[in-house]
């Protein structure tokens, strides 16, 4: 009988696979099996683009470039937009290493960089030994990586420069900003000849790499201590002459819902409006700026959040004849889609977006009226809000467009005193906006034009730092004091210094 029992035991153990603890994966692809086919191989690096979409919202980059400047503000409106002061901290330059937007950027940049490094290694890794075809592929990922590194040194200064996935150190040290700058310039100079122009604007192209290099040179004094902006001239003039891009006819063309094909756009992030339903990163700046009832103006399927506005002085710098005033902004009494007056559901007053914002924190018990709280501040419709738009826009977000190349060249020539070149690059933009010649074709004229034209496009912080005015007070009710010069850089997020204490040590070359 005992024997029988032991046989049963043995049988049980055999039947049940005894000690097999292999963890079989059913519903995702195991790392060892990826890529399975040529299609997956061809698209292996697409993940490198993913963080770009997040830069607009959760990733914090856009907030850090715009809400920290004199062109955009997120005031506290009664109940809304206090959010523990995270918006105030950006506007007043009192952010810390735990401010949400400051924390968010780092993750996105380095995730993109790691994806690029991994893809480059899958493609062979060594640019010197690569075949022409794989050189082009590698160049694409080197260009995106450079784009992320450019944003890293632009926002954080000294950062670890890591170019390998397989051989990366567990706890890297920071490299000096100038060292990283030199290396990404070198990378881009290698990549540009390998790259081709592309009609797919959300993909890397030669033009995208040239624009990145152009911006690096334009800001080279800030990044490396030496002004090499003049080196941007041949790069950008080649782009204008041979890139196949043309200036759009109307100020808003690059920002329409269907802006994929707009020949002015050089580098964009792809959105199709289904992001909200599918839990993907959204392009929802329109939700943040439009009034609670602006959905009735645009026939949107959802009520917006009534937040972001432009500062009064910025709005007032556009004259009545400037086509960008109506093109970019939503101001004055609002109407429904059908044309009736849009009445505030709380007060029955007409929704009227007035330029003046009385305070950074508005509430009735501190003397703001309900209409001021809800209506004040001119809102932004630079990106078209098409009828039926939901929580995420279907417009592609524009990182680089040809107008920016014109303005960069105008700025570099202006600092050399070359007024005719300034005129060459400024006039097409002013003409398109319905304006005549400026008082003079000098640096001031370029700065004004750049501020007005590229409003809302994530360049303002960088421009203000380059021009040395980022820490100034600006003409409004709240940013009255000079902020510390340290504020031209964001601190490395605490989450990162906690996870890698080497990031708190001085940078190396």
């Amino acid at each position: 009988m005992k024997k029988y029992i032991f046989n049963v035991f043995a049988l049980v153990m055999i039947l049940t696979g005894c000690t097999d603890l292999q963890e079989k994966i059913y519903d995702t692809i195991p790392e060892s099996k990826f890529p399975e086919n040529s299609n997956q191989t061809a698209n292996i690096g697409v993940g490198a683009y993913d963080p770009l979409k997040e830069l607009l919202d959760g990733g914090g980059w856009w907030f850090c470039q715009e809400i920290t400047t004199d062109e955009m503000v997120a005031p506290t409106r009664g109940l809304d937009w206090d959010d523990n002061g995270k918006w105030r901290a950006l506007q007043l330059h009192s952010w810390t290493n735990e401010t949400e937007a400051v924390v968010g950027m780092w993750d996105r940049y380095y995730r993109g960089i790691a994806e690029c490094n991994k893809t480059i290694e899958i493609l062979g890794g060594d640019t010197a030994k690569a075949t022409p075809a794989s050189k082009t592929s590698m160049a694409k990922f080197i260009a995106i990586r450079s784009f992320y590194y450019w944003l890293l040194i632009d926002n954080y200064g000294d950062v670890p420069y890591v170019t390998s996935y397989a051989k990366a150190e567990a706890k890297p040290f920071k490299n000096k900003r100038a060292f990283v700058f030199d290396n990404i310039v070198k990378d881009l100079l290698w990549a540009i000849p390998q790259l081709k122009s592309s009609s797919v604007h959300y993909a890397v192209s030669k033009g995208m790499a040239q624009m990145t290099l152009g911006r690096l040179y334009l800001n080279s004094k800030v990044y490396s201590g030496t002004d090499n902006s003049i080196k941007a001239i041949p790069v950008l003039e080649d782009l204008i002459a041979n890139g196949g891009y043309t200036l759009a006819a109307n100020v808003r063309d690059p920002f329409l819902e269907k802006n994929e094909a707009c020949a002015e756009n050089i580098f964009t992030a792809f959105f199709d409006g289904t992001e909200n339903a599918n839990g993907k990163p959204e392009f929802n700046l329109h939700m943040r700026t439009l009034g609670y009832q602006s959905n009735q103006t645009f026939k949107m399927s959802v009520g917006p959040w009534n937040g972001f506005a432009t500062l009064e002085n910025h709005f007032l710098s556009y004259t009545a004849i400037d086509k960008r005033r109506d093109g970019y902004f939503l101001y004055g009494p609002q109407k429904t889609f059908e044309g009736a007056a849009l009445l505030d559901a709380e007060t029955s007053n007409i929704w009227d977006f007035t330029p003046a914002i009385p305070a950074l924190t508005m509430s009735e018990s501190t003397g703001s009226t309900k209409s001021q709280i809800r209506h004040s501040g001119v809102r932004i419709q630079k990106y078209e809000i098409a009828s039926g738009t939901g929580q995420s826009c279907a417009n592609d977000y524009v990182f680089f467009r040809l107008t920016d190349a014109y303005l960069m060249l105008a700025e570099i020539y202006a600092s050399q005193g070359n007024a005719s070149k300034v005129q060459l690059y400024l006039d097409p933009i002013r003409t398109r906006a319905g304006l005549g010649s400026p008082a003079a074709y000098n640096l001031n004229a370029v700065k004004t034009e750049r501020k007005m034209e590229l409003f809302y496009e994530g360049t303002r912080r960088q421009d203000m730092i380059r021009w040395g005015i980022f820490n100034n007070p600006w003409d409004c009710a709240w940013k009255l004091q000079l902020s510390s010069a340290d504020n031209s850089l964001f601190p490395i997020p605490k989450k990162q210094t906690d996870a890698n204490s080497n990031l708190s040590l001085p940078a190396i070359d």
Partner: protein, 988 residues
């Protein structure tokens, strides 16, 4: 919504079951009667079984201990009652018998389930408690675990709010880990990992709670949070006669406490007084009235059981219908359970089979925060000036009025949110006695847990940003278990040994499927017909499948010498597929000793002392239950679809690695010492036990942020932290009075636990602290209230300290340097107390009057903890007025010019301590029912949550200490209910 049909079917089924039972009533020929009494006290014993030997003919004694039955004139009767030795009586023609039973000292001390076996309670060496059905709470039990709430020391059973669809939180000896949760593992009739809600309380014989590691180590990698062994009722093998039990109750539930908010007239007079402009829609609505209702609950259980020396069976059916006090929250459940045991081969082979099926229908409302469909928040914030409906009967919405502001009544009535679950558990075992004392057992089980969900928002609902949504979801879980083990029990003179050795294999497969679409073109079809949804995009269809396997070898040896010295050792070797390639296997040993001092000769004469025993145990256990599969290995997931980077047209799915690989990912390991003392004096009139424990959990698992660079994924699951829990538990019961007409028993349970985080980082896994418990309210995003860091317990509030309100109306906070500031960013964050109660108390009382009236009440208290009242913070905001509803404080502050969005500080912390009269039951047993063939007929009335004494001002202070974030009252406390239950128990 649509369950009436289901209800009718269930009622018919129960009626049929009852008819079947009645038809089985037996008949006989010659009549005897008698009385069964306690041989010592002479008290009548009710419920004793009287069986005619060698037949199935038997009865149960009635209230007076009297039985009447018809037997053969030369028959022998066997009389049995729990706690007494069986007595055999020759009838020999006598028709009137007096039968005296002797107490069985061994049986009286009961047995406790200890995992893969039982042990006499007096022999236990670990911290094991049991709660049997006689001590269960009565009244509305939405979850069977509620039956033992407050009854076992150190088992903290709590529930945030009163939603019938929410589960109870059960925590034994403090927080289990960071990600692991604290829930113990349930072992139901030998199957580990079964959801206890699939067993109706009426079908449960006992709960056995294994608390310390020396007891739970036999469950190895699953034992760290404690083990609750649930034993279900079996058919009686001694009564010889079938018995039918009916347990029914109906109950009315009310909202126990509402949030105190303003009325329409309060707001109108406020507007006039302050000369404000506000659109007045002319309503006069109490929105809480609109979403609350009185809930009607009913529960019916019927069981039929019987058997003889060779076989027994029990079949039961339970139908429950819970109506939540928030409209649109319902739960219906039908459970059926059938059990049969058969002895074969001269009683050497015992075969047991069990089949249980549970069908559940749920209807949900969202109430978890401040989202567009969170009905409680929407009702709280909604202006009383607004009506529920327009003149034409449509819902008054007036959207968009403000950020996520929607009519809660419309949400309840228009949004479909349902679930339907089917759960089947089947298990069988065969035990063979090879030699006297040597038994081998083979155990197999198969459980299947399937559910379907239905979700639909019509296009007309303003809550939807996607013009409506319809979704269907299926989830299936299949678990298989095979176990084989051998028990050997033997006594040689003064030496007793009990040994166990076995093997277990358990595997689970989970799979699911969901599909949704937006832009709904038909409201009529709801989610029943997804073809009516116009937009189906990439990502709208999902599916998953995963599995895990757990393989174990285990052994236990228990020895005692002369019932004075006891020793137990166990070891389990577990292998789990969930862990890293290098760490699949773990060994979990334990050892414990006990000394029964009372049984020493020097205490033999101390007649006042019945029991005195000390116990000492140590063990190592692990925790796997809460972890998903594949946490150690990276998986490549699809992250989205977009047109190709090359041509801008071809659709491309992008894939991304979700996390980094960790081959060293392994168990959290808990080392625990336990010291216990059991005592009883004065004929066990007063008895109790005390446990002291010290637990140390190492290799705590956390999802570590890893530096980018160099890692691609920003996280990895790794073991690095250490957490400790130390505490004391005590219980005492006192049989105060045992008089003929008055019996009074009271018992008290107490526990206190101290938690500490000792370490969070190791090697490359660095982690300094983490902000936790973020407030979730409109315009208040990003305000945190707790900090997880080394040296502090979980649940520690870490907040700016409120000093005063300045003369011009600003909140002022203390700074680190002893000053005062208005800028909360400059204030010092301080340890402001804990969300974990210092003391947990349960107090149960049982009175019996004149033998047929029983009164029971249970009081439960959680003392010494703080709750952060976000609801008060949010609704005190003057900025809400006059557009939204608020509380009186908001008016006061508005009129004083105190302003601004409230900021997180200790101002909003409140003492959560409460004492609750959980349960008061008065029952009446009808006497002399036996002449109608009824053994027992009891009716009872229960009041649930009749009284709560607390200083807490919100809806309810009871919180569950689950996970890393707890203690916030963030408009997400479903109202606790007060309920009145009328019940019937019938045995015939």
């Amino acid at each position: 919504m649509k369950y009436n049909h289901f209800k009718h079917k269930m009622s018919a089924f129960i009626a049929a079951l009852a008819m079947f039972a009645l038809s089985m009533t037996a008949t006989a020929q010659l009549s005897v009667s008698g009385i069964v009494k306690d041989g010592k006290t002479g008290e009548a014993i009710l419920g004793a079984s009287v069986l005619e030997k060698g037949t199935n003919n038997g009865v149960i004694t009635n209230f007076e201990g009297v039985f009447t039955m018809t037997v053969a004139s030369k028959a022998t009767l066997i009389v049995r009652y729990l706690g007494y030795l069986p007595e055999e009586v020759q009838v020999s023609g006598k028709t009137n018998l007096v039968i005296l039973l002797k107490e069985d000292a061994v049986v009286l001390s009961e047995v406790v389930a200890i995992g893969y076996g039982v042990q006499k309670k007096s022999d236990k060496t670990g911290a094991v408690m049991n709660v049997t059905s006689a001590d269960f709470n009565s009244g509305v039990l939405t979850d069977p675990i509620q039956a033992m709430q407050g009854k076992a020391s150190g088992v903290v059973i709590t529930k945030k709010g009163g939603n019938p669809n929410d589960a109870f939180s059960v925590q034994i000896r403090g927080a289990g880990g960071l990600l692991t949760g604290s829930s113990p593992i349930y072992v139901i009739d030998g199957i580990p990992g079964v959801d206890p809600t699939t067993v109706p309380a009426e079908d449960i014989e006992s709960f056995n709670i294994l608390k310390d590691a020396s007891s739970t180590a036999i469950y190895g990698s699953r034992g760290a949070n404690g083990v609750i062994i649930i034993t279900t009722k079996k058919g009686s093998s001694t009564g010889g006669k079938r018995t039918i039990n009916v347990n029914s109750y109906i109950s009315m539930d009310q909202v126990a406490k509402r949030l105190d908010l303003l009325s329409a007239s309060d707001i109108r007079s406020f507007i006039t007084r302050n000369n404000l402009s506000q659109v007045d829609a002319g309503g006069n609505t109490d929105w809480q009235n609109e979403i609350y209702r009185n809930g009607f609950t009913q529960n019916h259980n019927i069981s039929i059981g019987g058997g003889n020396e060779k076989s027994n069976y029990r079949i039961s059916g339970t139908w429950s219908d819970f109506q939540g006090v928030v409209k649109g929250t319902d739960k219906q459940r039908f459970t059926t359970n059938a059990n049969i045991t058969q002895k074969l081969l001269n009683d050497k082979l015992v075969v047991d089979g069990n089949l249980s099926a549970t069908f559940e229908e749920n209807q949900y409302q969202d109430f978890g925060g401040n989202g567009p469909t969170d009905v409680m928040y929407q009702a709280f914030q909604r202006s009383p000036l607004q009506p529920v409906t327009n003149a034409d009967g449509t819902y008054y919405e007036n959207t968009p009025y403000g950020f996520q502001y929607f009519n809660p009544v419309a949400i309840i009535n228009n949004i479909q949110n349902q679930r339907s679950a089917k759960r089947i558990r089947t298990n069988g075992s065969a035990q063979y006695e090879i030699l006297p004392g040597l038994k081998a057992k083979l155990n197999g089980a198969y459980t299947r847990d399937d559910s379907e969900s239905f979700y639909f928002v019509p296009a007309s609902s303003p809550t939807s940003a996607t013009k409506g949504k319809g979704e269907r979801k299926y989830e299936n879980h299949t678990t298989k278990l095979v176990e084989a083990f051998i028990n050997y029990d033997k006594t040689f003179g003064v030496h007793t040994i009990a040994a166990l050795g076995g093997y277990s294999w358990q595997g689970q497969t989970n799979d699911g499927f969901n599909a949704f679409g937006t832009n709904s073109q038909s409201t009529y079809v709801e989610s029943n017909y997804l073809a009516a949804l116009a937009d189906v995009n990439y990502g709208s269809i999902g599916s998953y499948k995963n599995e895990w396997t757990l393989i174990s070898f285990f052994a236990r040896a228990a020895y005692d010498y002369d019932k004075k010295y006891f020793a137990t050792a166990t070891v389990r070797r577990d292998g789990s597929s969930k862990f890293g390639a290098n760490k699949k296997w773990g060994i979990f040993p334990s050892g414990s000793l006990a000394w029964s001092i009372k049984n020493e000769s020097f205490l033999q004469d101390a007649s006042w002392l019945d029991q005195l025993k000390i116990r000492l145990g140590y063990g190592i256990t692990g925790n796997t239950e809460k972890f998903d599969s594949y946490m150690s290995i990276p998986r490549i997931r699809a992250t989205g679809m977009q047109p190709s980077m090359e041509d801008g047209v071809t659709k491309v799915i992008t894939f991304k690695k979700d996390k980094e690989q960790n081959d060293n990912f392994q168990w959290e390991s808990t080392q625990e010492f336990n010291f216990g003392l059991d005592w009883g004096v004065l004929n066990s009139k007063i008895q109790g036990s005390v446990e002291l424990y010290s637990k140390r959990t190492v290799q705590l698992i956390y999802n570590y942020s890893i530096p980018q660079p160099p890692f691609l994924a920003d996280n990895i699951y790794a073991n690095a932290g250490t957490m400790t829990n130390k505490g004391i538990e005590a219980n005492i019961s006192y049989r105060v009075l045992t008089m003929r007409n008055f019996d009074f028993k009271t018992s008290l349970t107490f526990s206190h636990n101290i938690n500490n985080l000792e370490k969070l980082s190791e090697g490359i896994y660095e982690w300094k602290d983490r902000q936790q418990s973020f407030i979730n309210a409109r315009g208040m995003v990003g305000q945190w209230t707790q900090l997880i860091e080394v040296g502090t317990p979980m649940g520690t509030w870490y907040l700016p300290h409120f000093v005063d309100i300045s003369s011009d109306g600003a909140f002022r906070y203390a700074t680190a340097t002893g000053g005062v500031t208005r800028d909360v960013a400059l204030a010092e964050r301080r340890n402001a107390g804990s969300a974990v109660p210092k003391v947990n108390l349960g107090w149960s009382n049982s009175f019996t009057l004149f033998k047929n009236i029983d009164v029971n009440f249970t009081v439960r208290a959680l003392l010494g903890y703080k709750v952060y009242n976000v609801s008060a913070m949010y609704f005190s905001n003057p900025t809400l007025l006059p557009s939204y509803n608020a509380n009186q404080q908001a008016i006061t502050w508005f009129e004083k010019g105190i302003n601004g969005t409230p900021v997180a500080s200790d101002y909003w912390l409140e003492d959560g301590s409460f004492v609750r009269l959980d349960n008061l039951t008065v029952g009446y047993n009808f006497p002399n029912t036996s002449k109608f063939g009824i053994n027992k007929l009891r009716v009872y009335f229960t009041g649930g949550n009749l009284l709560t004494i607390t200083g807490y001002k919100g809806i309810d202070p009871e919180i569950s200490n689950e996970g890393m974030s707890f203690g916030l009252d963030n408009f997400n406390i479903y109202p606790k209910t007060r309920n009145f239950t009328l019940g019937l128990q019938l045995n015939f």
